[in-house]
């Protein structure tokens, strides 16, 4: 029994990220869905939709909910679902999602930590003017 994964994002961002993860791994290693929250959507309706998706994804091991920007409507919806069987991590990016997929067998608290770590690990100063990548967290100049 694996944790379910729900992405709650601005528009179809989550859907596109899920598709990238699906292509990367040749399929998804856990049950996953994404909820696109549109600008003109009623938040209460989106919340109800998110709740029913989370309930459907929970096969007993809980649901990890990933959302893009903390404080925005999708994240506010995600946080309303937060509880013992639903953990929320904000700042969704592809590194976060790939890390979650690669540790799909973990329990909910451990998977939540992997999501957080993966998201942070993916934010780097890239290649500098000399073409050399800098993998520590200092800027090039």
């Amino acid at each position: 029994m694996r944790v379910g994964l729900l992405l709650v994002t601005h528009d179809t961002l989550g859907e596109l990220l899920l598709e990238s993860a699906r292509v990367t791994f040749g399929g998804l290693p856990l049950s996953a869905e994404s909820l696109a929250v549109a600008r003109d959507q009623e938040p209460e309706a989106a919340l109800e939709r998110a709740r029913s998706m989370a309930d459907a994804l929970d096969e007993g091991a809980g649901v990890l909910i990933l959302t893009d920007i903390y404080g925005a409507t999708p994240a506010n919806i995600a946080c309303r679902l937060s509880g013992p069987k639903a953990r929320v991590v904000a700042g969704l990016n592809l590194p976060m999602l790939l890390k979650v997929c690669s540790y799909a067998g973990l329990d909910l608290p451990a998977l939540e930590r992997k999501a957080y770590e993966g998201g942070r690990e993916g934010v780097l100063y890239g290649c500098g003017p000399d073409g050399v990548c800098n993998l520590n967290d200092t800027p090039h100049d």
Binding site: F25, L98, K99, S102
Partner: protein, 89 residues
């Protein structure tokens, strides 16, 4: 511990799909599996670790396996690199 020098030979290098295949294969073994580039070792069972190698075509790496099944691990992982991650080029 067993080590082997490996050169990345597929055109796209250790890009996301290749890294995912590598991580999935490495996870099949009980041994610790790491890849070393320029003295920096990463856990080959961690997709972000492998991605951070940013290893393109021609990059020289050391594959390091340590544990009861290290012999099989090193052969199978080396073969994945040699087969260019089944990408054909």
């Amino acid at each position: 511990m067993t080590e082997r020098a490996i050169t990345v030979s597929n055109k796209l290098g250790l890009h996301a799909r290749a890294a995912a295949k590598l991580v999935q294969l490495a996870a099949e073994f009980d041994s610790e599996v790491s890849l070393v580039r320029d003295g920096r070792a990463v856990n080959a069972k961690s997709i972000m670790g492998v991605m951070m190698l940013a290893a393109g075509l021609g990059t020289e790496l050391t594959l390091r396996c340590h544990g009861a099944d290290e012999a099989e691990a090193i052969e199978r992982i080396h073969a994945l690199f040699e087969n260019k991650f089944d990408e054909g080029e």
